[in-house]
């Protein structure tokens, strides 16, 4: 996207994400042609939307659409569902492997669904086989879904369980689950960075406005350094994420996701401390971002798990991952 087009697109996305209801955001995204933008320029469409979505603590079916179009292609993905596109079953929390497991003629499903699951008739289930992954389009009536409230009820997640005879599902398609999951991880990383930027801005505003000892608390070095630390964490995460788009391999996406999650949690810790009492109440918006960041850090692979896996791979192979070139 060239600069003026991108600025228009960013403005449209920002206005769309101001819609707090997930369904309303999906139709607003349809109106501005987000899915066309995704097909034309994936890094821009994903980074702009998910960072904005994270910043506004809202949600949409965009993650489902991103995964669906990566798994089965855009035309089949749009055949699967309602205005937001078909839903995609995500792995259980903390994990990033495919949520389906083949057992004879049956596929056993254990995973999560986003709010999009509520507005679809079918969902895509990826299952790992020894020869790679396959994707089934499954009638949602064949699976059990239970709303999950948890630490962030506003996110509207579902727990998805069940098993279906693979003959009942639409013809399976071979799919590259690791590649699709990598895109999902990049999207969630942008969402984490967006959530972090909102927390930092809330803390920064408070630091400038809150007076103690006759001066703003933002004039105290102990406070300033917490805020500086937060910005460093976010800019480092954003840089790693931008670099990962040049080579969106499962390894680079996992590194970006783990780092973005750790950065968002660093920002949450410092922002919470700077906002002190007011930031600990539900009368101040900080808690929404804190909750969101914790869940996002654990969706599609928990940061700590991804980092441990990276470290274990480095130690067992005795080599570092491929470094992106200058």
């Amino acid at each position: 996207m060239e600069a003026t087009e991108r600025a228009l697109f960013e403005g449209g996305v920002r206005r769309a994400t101001e819609a707090t209801d997930a369904g309303a955001l999906d139709s607003a995204l349809d109106d501005i042609g987000w899915r066309d933008a995704l097909a034309a320029d994936r890094p821009t469409a994903v980074s702009v939307l998910f960072e904005s979505q994270g910043a506004m603590t809202t949600t949409s079916a965009a993650l489902d659409w991103l995964l669906a179009s990566a798994l089965v292609g855009a035309s089949d993905a749009s055949a699967g569902g309602t205005s937001g596109g078909g839903a995609v079953v995500l792995p259980p929390l903390r994990r990033c492997d495919a949520p389906g497991r083949l057992d004879g003629d049956w596929c056993v499903v254990e995973g999560l669904g986003t709010a999009a699951l509520d507005r679809c008739d079918t969902a895509l289930v990826a299952a790992q086989t020894p020869d790679g992954a396959v994707t089934f389009a499954v009638e949602l009536g064949l699976l059990t879904r239970r709303p999950v409230l948890g630490i962030d009820p506003a996110l509207g997640l579902f727990e998805v369980m069940g098993e279906f005879e693979t003959g009942w599902a639409a013809q399976p398609k071979s799919a590259d689950w690791p590649a699709a999951a990598a895109l999902g991880q990049l999207a969630l990383s942008h969402e984490l960075v967006g959530a972090g930027r909102t927390m930092l801005e809330l803390a920064r505003t408070h630091a400038l406005e809150r007076m103690q000892f006759g001066r703003s608390i933002g004039s105290f070095q102990a406070v300033r350094h917490r805020l500086a630390e937060s910005l460093i964490a976010l800019e480092a995460a954003a840089a790693l994420l931008d670099a990962a788009w040049e080579d969106p391999s499962p390894r680079s996406a996992a590194m970006a996701k783990a780092f973005a999650g750790r950065s968002a949690r660093t920002v949450a810790r410092h922002s919470q401390q700077v906002l002190a009492g007011i930031g600990f109440t539900t009368e101040h918006p900080l808690h929404r971002s804190v909750r969101r960041a914790l869940v996002l850090d654990q969706l599609l692979g928990a940061g700590t798990v991804l980092t441990r896996t990276l470290g274990a791979d480095v130690l067992s192979s005795g080599t570092l991952p491929a470094a992106f070139p200058l």
Partner: protein, 376 residues
């Protein structure tokens, strides 16, 4: 020359010249050995034309983007042919000369620096002037057709090897703070200069105290304008936090690679290794973006303090791992390989101190990037 073409040409040349370029000593060597190696590598790469790429023609360069310099330093460091801190000194000092020295002086001097014929040092810090650079008191007074310089600098890297020094001197009143500072280009063989090396805990004499006793400095050795030295320093510091850091990241990568390849099984925590790798990769990503902004003609500023914090954080995280994974070597080993790990572990402790402390970088970030206003 395009970057890809340059990379290929440099790689082929380095392979062909491997024997001639190689280090002749084991382990970290003495400072004398390191400097001899640096001069050799710089001269050979200069004569082959590579060291001249990315520098303007008016100072003996062959033109082209700063990315070419970034790659050359990266690959020389990755191949363990140069110590990145010393190699990168021209990245800090040459741009200052190009931007502020009289044209003839820059054209005469910069090529000597690039071809390793001369070593230059940077006279900023003083005994009473560390983080508060604007309080410096080394004084230059006008005396007829020259300046007379009196005072002291400290933490001056490689002063005992240097032929020249880019120095900040007080030319206004003591109260003038940053408004009364002038940048001077000094010949280190001038009468009245005494250099006293300081031994640091890593066992080297990299830093020195430098004393100036009525040193005569010709008027045409002023860089920029009299009493405008502060803006030169402010322009110089982002250079210290850009290409030089890309080179340093290549060094950190090589050392982390060597660590994970040689640490005994079970000696390293996978989470700590994963975190250090992510941190190093984020530094590389950030520093590369800075290199690209520079190549696009942007002026670097306070945002490079983020790069500086990242490099210091990554360096200490990686050498903390070294102290775990190769603990016996670091603590007890007296062979050259162990001595090098130990020296570099100890040097990494200073990563949050030199070149603007970790606290000063965070102050800059709070003031300039977060717009938090004055800190008092």
């Amino acid at each position: 020359m395009e970057l890809d073409e340059f990379k290929a040409a440099v790689d082929v040349w380095l392979d062909a010249q491997a024997e001639e370029l190689a280090c002749t000593f084991e382990g970290i060597g003495t400072l004398d050995q390191q400097m001899a190696q640096l001069r050799k590598v710089m001269q050979l790469t200069y004569d082959a034309g590579f060291m001249r790429m990315g520098w303007p023609e008016r100072v003996g360069g062959l033109g082209g983007s700063n990315l070419l310099r970034a790659y050359l330093g990266e690959v020389l460091t990755a191949r363990d042919l140069v110590e990145p801190g010393f190699y990168s000194m021209p990245e800090v000092l040459a741009p200052t000369m190009i931007d502020y020295a009289p044209d003839a002086l820059a054209a005469e001097m910069v090529p000597r620096l690039l071809r390793g014929e001369e070593i230059w040092c940077q006279g900023f810090s003083e005994p009473g002037t560390g983080s508060n650079l604007a309080s410096l008191s080394c004084r230059a007074t006008r005396d007829g057709d020259a300046w007379r310089l009196n005072g002291q600098k400290v933490w001056t890297s490689l002063a005992q090897y240097a032929q020249r020094c880019v120095l900040l001197a007080r030319t206004g009143t003591t109260e003038s703070a940053h408004k009364g500072i002038t940048a001077l280009f000094i010949d280190m063989d001038s009468a009245g200069i005494t250099v006293r090396p300081i031994e640091t805990m890593n066992g080297a004499q990299e830093f020195s105290e430098v004393f100036f006793d009525d040193v005569v400095v010709p008027l045409d050795r002023v860089l920029g304008e009299v009493n405008h030295g502060w803006s030169i320093a402010m322009d110089l510091l982002p250079h210290e936090r850009s290409t030089a850091l890309w080179h340093r990241a290549a060094y950190l990568q090589r050392r982390l690679e060597q660590l994970v390849a040689t640490a005994p099984a079970g000696s390293l925590d996978p989470v700590a290794v994963g975190e250090a790798t992510e941190l190093l990769w984020s530094l590389r990503a950030r520093s590369r973006a800075t290199q690209r902004r520079l190549a696009a003609g942007e002026t670097l500023g306070a945002e490079t303090s983020i790069d500086k914090v990242l490099v210091a954080t990554a360096e200490q995280a990686i050498f903390d791992l070294v102290a775990d994974g190769l603990g016996t070597d670091v603590v007890l080993g007296d062979d050259p390989v162990s001595q090098r790990w130990r020296a570099e572990f100890l040097y990494s402790r200073a990563a949050t101190i030199y070149g603007g402390s970790a606290e000063i970088q965070r102050n800059i970030i709070a003031r300039r990037l977060l717009d938090l206003g004055a800190d008092r």
